[in-house]
Symmetry: D3
Subunit: 312 residues, 6 copies
């Protein structure tokens, strides 16, 4: 039986299937070419070096391939590195599906779409509901597979949709406790806030920023999309301006990329919900890798803190 890569420690041997997230060629000090591979399975990833590669090796062990691999985990400059003993591409006989090797959301895509559809159904303001449904439908195929980010949090297949579903549940719980909050705005804000990432990022795997993503960013892209959707649907009320503001301000502060801070209560709460779900996701994954009584590795996006796992 197979445990995931994050559960192996220095000195352990592995013999398993993995996915090549990236493969980069360089030349060693002996003048021979080698590949630096980032290998992943459902639980995490590890770096490996493949020495003295031929041109064939280079083509075979390229990014987005599945491989059968044997080797040991070693300490290299304080980080784990996999020393490869044996590596080959998988064949049909291995009966391995790439989706088995890629980290993905813990809920299925259909179940997630079902939940989101239900939240849209619960909206009472028809304009908010129509805009949200229109935009989700327009980008649904990307939305349901893209990660929420290239690193830090929810950086896995369907991470974006999973982040949205978790946030919707959180929005519902908070709105239940503070009844003055407008649920329609909160739900629409959650669904649309990161939808621009389907244009900011390159795709569901091996994800990088697009040129448009670099020059404009998902916030600005999405605000223009809301304008366009409103024009197409012939909707012209304050809802449009508030929805744009929700998307625009969801990073909370100018220095975090929101040219306007939240100036509507639901925008402020949307920022909290986004923050909580992203950060619990990060802490959760860092803590998963350590035992009670230990500290995690430093988490850059959490002010470089190292978290303690109590022994309670």
């Amino acid at each position: 039986m197979q445990k995931g890569i994050i559960h192996y420690g220095i000195g352990d041997s592995i013999d398993t299937y993995m996915y090549i997230k990236s493969s980069t060629k360089a030349v060693a000090s002996n003048g021979k070419p080698f590949l630096t591979l980032i290998l992943s399975d459902k639980t995490g990833e590890i770096e490996a070096k493949l020495w003295d590669v031929s041109e064939d090796d280079e083509k075979s062990f390229a990014s987005e391939k599945a491989v059968k691999i044997m080797g040991e985990i070693q300490n290299y400059r304080g980080r784990s590195q996999l020393k490869i003993r044996n590596i080959r591409l998988t064949t049909d006989l291995d009966a391995i599906n790439i989706s088995d090797l890629i980290q993905t959301a813990p809920i299925g895509q259909e179940e997630m779409m079902g939940k989101i559809t239900q939240y849209i159904f619960e909206m009472r303001n028809p304009n908010i509901q129509r805009i949200t449904r229109h935009l989700l439908k327009k980008y649904q195929s990307e939305f349901i597979t893209f990660p929420a980010a290239t690193k830090n949090h929810h950086e896995f297949l369907s991470g974006l949709a999973y982040h949205v579903v978790s946030m919707l549940d959180l929005a519902k719980a908070i709105a239940g406790l503070y009844p003055k909050l407008n649920k329609d705005l909160l739900y629409a804000g959650v669904i649309l806030h990161d939808l621009g990432k389907v244009m900011e990022l390159s795709g569901p795997v091996s994800t990088v920023y697009t040129v448009e993503g670099n020059l404009l960013g998902h916030i600005t892209i999405m605000v223009s999309e809301i304008s366009k959707a409103a024009d197409e649907l012939g909707i012209d009320g304050e809802e449009i301006m508030i929805l744009k503001h929700l998307v625009l301000s969801h990073h909370g502060k100018a220095e975090w990329g929101s040219p306007k801070p939240p100036l509507v209560m639901e925008a402020e709460v949307l920022h909290y919900i986004d923050n909580i779900d992203a950060k619990i996701n990060m802490m959760d994954r860092a803590l998963e890798r350590v035992k009670p009584g230990e500290f995690t590795e430093r988490v850059f996006a959490l002010e470089n803190r190292s978290f303690y796992k109590p022994q309670l």
Copy 2:
């Protein structure tokens, strides 16, 4: 029938009972003494000047007295000020209870204690439960009447307990969605995090900082109290250290008064919950004073933002 002071505008006449929150003597440009009164009712407060006062007036219209007052609301340098036509102390005939004039929590003290007791009852770790119960009992009488702060949020009678009850409900909702969170730590953290305020602040009304509050602060005071409680109860496990850490780190960052940032997941979440409840309270009260389509006054503790109330 009586509407509250925050619902009156410039030019309105009032004829009502109010409470003197503070009374300060000064000398006018004509050389005669006058009093600056801060008058409140359940909804808010207003400044008033009482001109040409005698020594008797000064004694009568002192802080923490209830008065019957007539006058008009005027614009004074951009702020509302009550121009007093007539003022007198209340008598038994007025049948006015001071508690009717003081802003207080929207839930009764007994109901709040009942809810908190229930949360303590639900704790599974006996050490956490005993420490929490011990400390709450020790300071219960102050806890149930003190405000949560002298200004900004929950700055009213029983504001501290009300803030704790809201946070407990929020903690329960969030822990329901992220099952790795330890509820015992979250609930104990919520109940203890601001309990040191019963020593940092002077009392339930006309609240100011004590010398100890200024020199040590509620966080440090409470951490020492947890040490003491653990000694008295003979408890000596990791729970004590974690509870101290929860209290210590709940302001989130060194520059906000926490010498250590949250380094335990529940500590981080406690900081979020505290923040959300305090800030929604602030926004709520600012928005209550304006009509849809208007912006609130600037809220200093929310980065001086002015919030918009949508017309949806």
Copy 3:
């Protein structure tokens, strides 16, 4: 012959025509209503109090009226204030045009439009040219009368157009010295960068922020407008993305309201040009009010500096 208000000092008498920029009612310590007037002419503005006003006075001396006024300049708490001796509304007999009392650009509207049209004419890239012409035409009537801001710089009638014209000349000079700069992008960036202000601000005089201006801001508004224009004109090339980026990044840094910093050389240069023209305008106007050998008043938007006027 008439010199402007900024050239009068403490103790001087005035007898002139002025424009009421704003009129606010309040109640004096004697219980009687009075008006605080902000009066302007082409050179600047001054505060005045009109005491013991009747309801008629209040209606007469309202905002956006022209008046004939006599009085003296006095020192009130360190600032100049006009003590009114006599005030009346102007009549046809005065032969005073409101435009004679309002600060405005030093070049005529037609001349400015002529210069801008010429710059658009010089563009070589037809897509950039068409987008720029389309958007300028769409908002030309507001563009030619609006100020560039509510305060700080170019806060006068046609200030926006004047700022654009000055920036175009500066762009041309700089592009002449650094030939790798793309003039089309620079000129289009200059013309479009602040065009969203026609929606962010309320109008050419007594200018305040609109709700949309507060919640979205002129940068975001304009980026959506460029999207829309491109759709309407059927243009779909990299030009659109770069034009959006120019507008988006022209404030230079996230904390100054640009969610993306300039990432294209012309965007960086556009930011410099905007900055130089705005700041020279501010210094110029502050220095105009002092004599050689003196320091100006502190200029808030220039890091609160007080500038020295050399005696050379």
Copy 4:
């Protein structure tokens, strides 16, 4: 005759006794295990690699052992590294005492305790005197051997006590010049300010942070200890609060770990004294390693400055 390690340069051969401060195993690119040793003597430390180690080597050359070593100093990526020619554990025949290889305070432990005892003896306020004596006695054995920090300043055996003794002398000198300073508070503040480090740190050598040190910190630990001492001694006056405040505020600012800034004159001066002694210690040690006319290495804790040693 033997000069210390910091006096050797690139290219020098050494043949000397050293102490293994730490020993970390890793795997080389040839697949064989090697050890990274941090070796020290009284003057400083150097890194060395021990290649192709056996399991026996690994056990022998572990942390906190003394060794006889021969080799050369080499330049490795800009830093000095010792290339080992020969290494063996010391035996009784070497007549080497570990304390001869460990950096330690320049004054003996007894002399230091004598000086501190004298300062306590000079205190006039019996409460301050009793608290200070009680706490020092309680933790004396750790206090006299611990370093003052894991790096930056006084990071050697008995560094904590040496830092305290230097600060006491400095406190006496300053109090002599500014007679309004209360010497009792200054002396007690100096003695107690870092005493919590005996719980924050793991021990006198190979020092790391304890879990309690990470989650609570020496400041908070010590404030609780003062509470406890006061309870045990039955002391209950303002002295207790001021002593806690001195400890609490000695880092000077919230962002440096003091939840309250100094609000008592002696607390402010304690912060200066701590700062001066720590920083002169750091500069001194950096300057010791260079010749007149040279700059030191960058000192991270002194804003990364590189100091010049004048040729005067």
Copy 5:
């Protein structure tokens, strides 16, 4: 017998001699001119209004005059203000010397010059000694009367010399404890560090910044003076560069006005000494005005802190 102005409280009557530090004319709401006087004696200062003044009054009660005054201390907007009952210029009969009414250093000018001369005498490096003596002599008459600043600390007659004398004593004490410090550099640094203030400031009383002070500052002025002195004395060694660096870096950080941070140990220590003497002076004077158990007014230059005076 006469106590000083800082020892009077709200409601007290005074009948004493005072010095007019500044006198500013303005017009009251009744249209009549009045003077705002800042009155001082040796202990401090107070504001007073002189109403309905004639042109003669204006000339009489001008800045830098001594007056006999009667009145009461009142609370005006939270600050003390003197209500004048009677005021007249002093005559020969009053036998009052202006120096009796001006705050000045607690040590005489001759004694201060004697101490400084002794410190120069103790220097061993003849170049440092000659430069220091030359520059002190050149500006001695201003040095001995100027304040050290226009506000914040040592802002009184001979404050600059007094600050230097205190710092010299402190330098001697610290150099005694850390023997690696070069006393010549420390003493010369102390004597020269603020000597440029004799050109930066306008004079010993009613002190303001000169134009040169505003545009260049005392640090830059003094560095050029050291260059000039070295040329004149024909000295050309490393001493000159180090002395310039000591002056240049004594504010400690670029953002505090030192274009280079201290990069020589004595420069760093000079910065500490300057800081300690200035800040103890500020705290001392704030604490002098309150009773044990009270907090001082907020001290702006000490991060706006309010200090507590213990009851010990």
Copy 6:
């Protein structure tokens, strides 16, 4: 035909002449010495390792030598590195001039001096003209060969003069558009602002900071030089103070090394001009290395941004 080093990519072979900017010896893991060479030609530079060097090699391949070199460009840890196949010193037969291998200003030294002389000639104020001419003449030989900095911008032979010439042209263009600017001050400010670099830096090639440069900096050095020049020329007017202020404030802010911010309009504009020319130079050179549609490497001195080269 020869293209420059920046135009070669990973995998390319080169066979060309290059200049050794620096040569550093170290010991490889096999115990043998090797050299790290920084090689340059007119277009840029590249790192190379020369393995197993003899003492002769070390002497031959020292800094500031010209070599004939063959090898391939490889990827080493993400950066380009030249793998040396063959290297030899150039001989007379190669007919290679070192100046052909060193990056230098695109305009000749004489042409640059001619332009600057013309600008000085155009000055109308004789004092400004004489000071400027005097100082330029005094340091002309260094001025015309030094770089403007050791890295970031204009870090090539004659870079300082080229930066000044570009800034003069820019100053002229801007002064033409804003006629209130004093051209004499602008031109003199441009010519003098960085002239202190001839003492701050070590020389025209292999440039490092001098001790004086580290301890005083070019700004302070130049201000003293202006003092001295004024003394020597017997000039004593406000011009001197303003010229010093222009040099002093040209970094714009205290934290950027200007102890006074610009307080004269021409000083502010000088800061803009310096900034624009330096930053366009940096962007230009980064963009030169990439193709349209690509992003540049991150440019540290431009807030670590990576710039996009449009495909227009």
